[in-house]
């Protein structure tokens, strides 16, 4: 790496740190604050997730880290390279899988990989070999000569991942990788990401799917309105809820009154709230809580139509942090 300019390289970056954002901000024309003073650090070899609803600023953050969006404030470094000062260099170290299918429709499946390799300075032979190898690994060899418009959404996504990795970037960015995929393709993609992770690939992905964030990511940042509300492991985040289980009560009538009533009457309820038309109770100690809820509700003259108990999920964490649901 060239170190001729002090602005090029972040000398404070640790060897372990692959992505670093300091007070990173993007304000779009019209005074729209998409990302607000973001501090972030992603380590080598981890899958890091940005979790949040649409419009939280996740895609803008990825855009800034991959040079497609120019920050209006703060700093960002990828593999130690200043994103704003050296966009052309940063592009050598990032692989990007966009949310939409942005494969080159003028080229075949194989050619999409081959020319990507050439863009990144591979010789004709290197790129041919890399494309062949990559097609085999991503189980696309049979469709090598197909026009990219004719392959399925799942295959297109796999091809995009294959293309993004062809030049062996230290960091792979995936923006909503499984949005719009059928369940089978989604699971197939998760398996691919798991394998990449096992191989030590650093991955930053954005998602608004709870289960995706929960099962894939080593660490997560929960984002809303351009800000990071919490950063931790999925389990660490769930522990912050400070409760053993969540009881969801579906009922008719005055839900506010029911929520207050249950919190008073049922032992172990630390918190009650109405979310999306149902009452949620945070409960310490789960033994026998459902019968107690039913009995109390009957006593109070409320009509319960459904009842369930679950461990705290990232959904709960999100509701706790923002007071609203994170809808799929």
């Amino acid at each position: 790496m060239r170190t001729d300019s002090t602005d090029t390289v972040n000398h404070h970056a640790t060897a372990e740190e692959v992505i670093r954002c300091e007070q990173l901000t993007k304000r779009y024309p019209g005074n729209i604050l998409a990302v607000d003073r973001l501090d972030l650090s992603v380590h080598h070899g981890e899958i890091f997730g940005l979790l949040g609803p649409n419009g939280a600023g996740k895609t803008t953050t990825v855009g800034m880290l991959t040079t497609l969006v120019i920050p209006t404030g703060g700093k960002a470094f990828v593999a130690g390279i200043n994103v704003v000062a050296n966009p052309a260099l940063v592009k050598q170290v990032v692989g990007v899988v966009a949310q939409t299918n942005n494969l080159d429709r003028a080229l075949t499946v194989w050619e999409n990989l081959y020319y990507h390799g050439r863009f990144f300075g591979m010789s004709a032979k290197e790129s041919r070999d890399a494309a062949d190898e990559s097609l085999a690994k991503f189980r696309l060899t049979e469709r090598a000569k197909a026009e990219v418009m004719t392959i399925s959404g799942g295959m297109a996504k796999r091809l995009m991942v294959a293309r993004a990795l062809l030049h062996r970037p230290p960091v792979l960015f995936l923006d909503e990788p499984t949005a719009g995929l059928d369940p089978q393709s989604r699971i197939a993609l998760w398996e691919i990401l798991d394998k990449l992770h096992a191989d030590g690939q650093t991955i930053l992905l954005t998602t608004h799917y709870m289960e995706e964030a929960d099962s894939l990511c080593d660490r997560l940042a929960i984002m809303d309105h351009g800000r990071i509300l919490a950063i931790d492991t999925p389990n660490g985040l769930k522990e912050t809820v400070g409760t053993d289980s969540i009881v969801t009560v579906t009922a008719t009538g005055d839900l506010g009154a029911l929520a207050r009533f249950l919190q008073e009457r049922v032992e172990g309820v630390t918190k009650s709230q109405i979310v999306g038309g149902v009452v949620q109770l945070h409960v310490k100690g789960t033994r026998g809580v459902l019968p107690k809820v039913v009995a109390a509700a009957e006593q109070g003259g409320f009509n319960i139509t459904d009842l369930s108990v679950a461990e705290p999920s990232l959904e709960t964490v999100f509701i706790n942090l923002t007071g609203k649901e994170l809808r799929d």
Binding site: I70, A88, E111, R168, Q201
Partner: protein
């Protein structure tokens, strides 16, 4: 899938200088565009040939055959000098069309909803070089178009009609690349400034006026005859048309007919190259970087 990613390859070891990476990426972008051209070669040749063929067929074959006067004077003498005027115009027009079609039309797709240009924007070179690459690829198509059209335009005509060409090679060989770069830069301006969904409108409001008022069918010098009072208004008006400098240039290169002074042609074409490239690169950046 044991080694899809190679964690040990770290940028400190494998990274190339920005200049080296840009150079190879630029060539690869050109290679990609030329591959797409090769795949669509049939359509490319057809679309290159249709317009000049029709122009030459109607003006130099049908008109003389049916006795419709062209060229200002009766008889094959007038037709022959018109033929020379038209050959120059047709070559210029073909380069112009190629520039617009080769650059502006694909960009409408590539900037569209899926943003398929993105993978090329993420290639390791400054983004404005991606735009310049588009211009170079478009200019190459313009050169090929000129090479295809010129022989055809100079041989198709009715018996007795002769395109009396007198080729000024230095002018021709400098003018073809200059015109090709200018017109494909113009294509870049159109492709980046016009909303992808409005690209069809471009033909009606921009390409057609440019074609008809670009000196394809008549030399610019003769427009001096169209006056209001003592002002040759049309001759002045068409100076705003980039095509006029191309067709007049080819008139200078291919005929002995009167033409716009060469120093004007070269100066304006060079200035337009610079202006359109600058505008086009800015437009391109605005499209892909926010």
């Amino acid at each position: 899938m044991a080694d899809i990613a190679s964690p040990t390859v770290y940028p400190t070891k494998s990274m190339r200088s920005a200049a080296a990476a840009s150079r190879s990426a630029f060539w690869a972008l050109l290679l990609r565009d030329l591959t797409v051209l090769r795949k669509n070669l049939g359509i490319f040749i057809a679309r290159t040939l249709v317009q000049p063929f029709l122009l030459v067929f109607v003006f130099l074959y049908v008109f003389p055959k049916i006795g419709q006067g062209i060229g200002g004077s009766a008889g094959t003498g007038g037709e022959s000098s018109f033929a020379a005027v038209l050959v120059a115009g047709v070559v210029g027009l073909s380069i112009m069309f190629q520039g617009i079609q080769a650059v502006a039309l694909p960009l409408a797709n590539e900037f569209g909803y899926t943003k398929e240009i993105e993978d090329r924007v993420l290639a390791p070179l400054p983004v404005s070089l991606v735009a310049v690459g588009k211009v170079v690829a478009g200019a190459i198509q313009g050169l090929i178009a000129a090479a295809i059209v010129f022989p055809i335009a100079s041989v198709i005509h009715a018996p007795g009609v002769q395109a009396q060409l007198s080729v000024n090679w230095p002018v021709l060989l400098t003018l073809i690349p200059l015109s090709a770069i200018m017109t494909s830069s113009f294509g870049l301006v159109l492709g980046t400034r016009i909303e992808p969904r409005n690209i069809g409108v471009m033909f009606g409001f921009i390409v057609l006026p440019i074609t008809f008022l670009g000196g394809t069918y008549y030399p610019w010098t003769s427009l001096g005859a169209i006056k209001v009072g003592s002002v040759p208004w049309l001759q002045i008006l068409v100076c705003a048309n980039p095509l006029i400098y191309v067709t007049e240039g080819f008139r200078a290169a291919l005929t002995t007919a009167p033409h716009m002074p060469l120093y004007v042609i070269y100066t304006v074409l060079s200035a337009l190259c610079g202006l359109f490239l600058w505008m086009g690169c800015r437009g391109f950046l605005r499209r892909v970087i926010s």
